[in-house]
Subunit: 229 residues, 2 copies
DNA sequence: ACCTGAACACCGTTCAAGT
DNA sequence: ACCTGAACACCGTTCAAGT
């Protein structure tokens, strides 16, 4: 966090940097995260980031091969900050913590989720999350293969949630969507219309995520073999 | 499908179009889908599509306000093609069909999933999918609120799966990822390393999706109140 | 090694103009 | 209404050059 504040300063003004070393990869990553938080992904570009940092665009390429590599580093930095549980204690609260933290991290940069979707993420920071999840599942008593399958299910659910839940839909769009649903022919879309009528489709906040998480953990609990005794 | 073939012809060559009407929105949508299937999302641009169609770039803007509107139409067309079950019969196989179809549709255009993630999708074609899913859940005996929550869980899982499962990772990258995992310090990443060692992380094909789907449907089945008698 | 401006090969979209 | 080329305000990245 010190590094974040430092870079914020660099990013904001035209403070004279030390003559020995103008920049560092970490500073660029921190500035990128600050930029994304402030202006959103659509506003982000290498040129704008460089301007923000008060350096020439091509300077960034001294530290990162290309834009993708920079974004990978941003993701890794975000993942490294998640507070993961140690390998002890009952599996279920541990798994809950891992997935809530993962979701929290993803929600901080929802725009990034959108783009970094295709390539596999194998940076050390990101792998910590998978490790913590797998450990909890193994400690629950699942075999390696079952644990891997269960982790992918949990991971995809959480990622899907972060990516496809419109976090802060502006009110006008929300009204519009609701009006669209209510205007549907009820013969063809009976359940959609019924849902819209009672406003249940607009369920927000933590509840939908927690509902799905509990559903999955219940199901995983049912897979666990009873303790031998 | 007739319209698809028609448009393919237009898209491919420089066949002289009728003088009365050069193009239609449907033709543009079909050409976009063909283009995406053939060249992928990264290669797609309004300019290239226009070139492909043999028209000026700005002609496309007669039919669609902007690129987003065109992509929305592409998604709607894809959703409209899914084969959804009628509202009869036992809920579980119906739900399985809805979600398998949804996944199939998303996998046809994996690149699109990536981009169209933020805005809510409320086109008629897309709503059919939600309607079919909700109907099955309601018929299973869930209340409207529970059904809505369960649907979102299933939907996010499936979307997450389509978006974050590297479908056809090229072999060299796959090897690379595996090597990275195996090179991790086993004290810090014991489960990751163990998984990589037995190749379980690379599980592909239908199994991971089916595993998660079964897990979720089991859990939903457990929510269903026993039939009153 | 670190930093740079100019140039290249692109974008989506606005505009003014044509039929 | 449908179609268009030119122009505008951008991109990411290569290159050749500077320190």
């Amino acid at each position: 966090m010190t590094s974040t504040r430092q870079t914020r300063t660099v990013a904001r003004g035209s403070a004279p940097r030390s003559r020995t070393q103008a920049l560092s990869g970490e500073q660029i990553v921190a500035a990128t995260r600050a930029f994304l938080d402030e202006h959103g992904f659509d506003a982000f570009s290498m040129r704008r980031l460089a301007e923000h940092l008060g350096v020439g665009t091509m300077t960034l390429y001294t530290y990162f091969r290309d834009k993708d590599e920079l974004l990978d580093a941003v993701i890794d930095a975000g993942a490294a900050e998640l507070r993961l549980p140690p390998r002890k204690g009952p599996w279920r609260p541990r798994l809950e913590q891992v997935l809530r933290e993962l979701r929290r991290g993803l929600e901080r940069h929802p725009d990034i989720v959108r783009l970094r979707v295709t390539r596999p993420i194998v940076s050390p920071g990101a792998l910590r999350v998978g490790e913590a999840g797998l450990e909890a599942l193994r400690d629950a008593g699942l075999g390696p293969r079952e644990a891997a399958l269960a982790w992918r299910t949990l991971f995809n659910f959480t990622f899907g949630f972060a990516a496809f839940t419109p976090g802060e839909t502006p009110e006008p769009e929300r009204r519009q969507a609701r009006a669209t649903l209510l205007a549907l022919p009820p013969e063809e879309y009976p359940e959609m219309v019924a849902l819209a009528a009672e406003g249940a489709a607009a369920l927000g906040g933590e509840e939908p995520f927690e509902f799905g998480l509990a559903l999955l953990l219940d199901a995983i609990g049912a897979l666990v073999p009873p303790p031998p005794r």
